[in-house]
Symmetry: C2
Subunit: 197 residues, 2 copies
DNA sequence: CTCCTTTTTTATCGATCACTAAAGAAAAAG
DNA sequence: CTTTTTCTTTAGTGATCGATAAAAAAGGAG
């Protein structure tokens, strides 16, 4: 019962996500969000709490809707080398894409926040670390299955992959071309030495 | 003639630089700068213009005082492979250092600014691109001098190195250890295939 | 000393920040 | 219909943003 919402929650959330993605947490004001969401402040606060909880909701949405390729790449390929190659390749396509803001919300969305130990920055940091951990797990699996040499340090190889992904976000925002970054991704994987022989 | 300044310009500039380095351009307020510089607003504005020009002055200072290792690494080593190895190694030491803020001001100091086409963000972007260009130049030189295979794409190899450096800034801010990043740097260089045979 | 220049201090400025109280409007329930 | 519930609109809150006007203070020049 009661008066029904005049807007579609999913729709306005997508618009907020796009703005946070483009401008980052701190540089996006409630006033900016009002404009793109087409809502007055009380509607925003009633529906999403406050700016920080709205951002967290958007971050979760980003991971669900725009980062699916990470798990996809790490689970759908037969070898760790192929998984990592696909991961980096799909990352490039996600970061340099005509219909999306450049770069990654998780990497570049909240670098500097007043409090390092809580808030948006920490949420994204946890997502970054979860990604790196997932890569480590995939490489370890490769070693168990025999497609990755045992002398490779899975955590360090994974950290290099994560580092390259994070660097790609800056590169994408600086205007790097899709094709160039694909070549860089290929170079990076070759240097990893993940394939046996 | 006239009343002499009550503060040392170099000294307060260093303090402003450290704060921008730690918190980034947008998250650092004039009020914060007042506190660490020990100055009242009119003194800051009279000496440094406004917040944006103060940041640019700090960015220039950062490059001069804390990024000297880049040119050093690219000019003082006999081969491109050694130059790149030293560059990444010194980058790790610069980004994870007990007496300095973690990460890089040029990479992480101004990700999101209202105007993409001017202001702090653009200044840092230009520094990032200058670094990548310098790496390219060094690798090309290696090819001319015969220590880098001719079939390597210098621009792409340089972009990978720049990407890893940029990723290191995020890694450093996320708490990665100095030793771990050194291992990652070594991995990255090995994968580059810059050495002939 | 007095004058002149520059810097300091004090006290703000208007704009914008994130956020909200209160009243009006739109639906379902009775 | 009236009542109840929920949402939207209007209009603002105090706090902080970057930046400044005006006056007091500290030096050198004469």
């Amino acid at each position: 019962m009661g008066r029904p919402k005049s807007f579609d929650v999913d729709d306005v959330l997508e618009k907020a996500l796009r703005l946070f993605w483009e401008r980052g947490y701190e540089a996006t004001s409630i006033s900016d969000l009002e404009r793109v969401m087409g809502l007055r402040p009380p509607s925003i606060y009633a529906a999403f709490g406050n700016k920080e909880t709205l951002f967290k909701t958007c971050a979760d949405r980003y991971v669900e809707r725009y980062s699916g390729y990470v798990v996809e790449a790490l689970t759908k390929e037969p070898t760790a080398a192929e998984a990592v190659m696909r991961l980096l390749s799909d990352t490039v396509d996600a970061y340099v894409h005509d219909t999306q803001p450049r770069g990654c919300l998780v990497v570049s969305g909240a670098i500097h926040c007043p409090d390092m130990d809580e808030g948006p920055r920490l949420v994204l940091e946890q997502y970054r670390k979860a990604t790196e951990a997932a890569i480590t797990t995939r490489i370890v699996r490769g070693q168990e299955e025999g497609d990755v040499p045992k002398d490779v340090s899975a955590p360090m190889a994974a950290k290099l992959v994560a580092t390259v992904m994070q660097g790609f976000s800056t590169q994408a925002r600086d205007g790097a071309g899709n094709e160039d970054l694909h070549r860089v991704a290929k170079l990076a994987v070759e240097a990893l030495g993940l394939s046996v022989a």
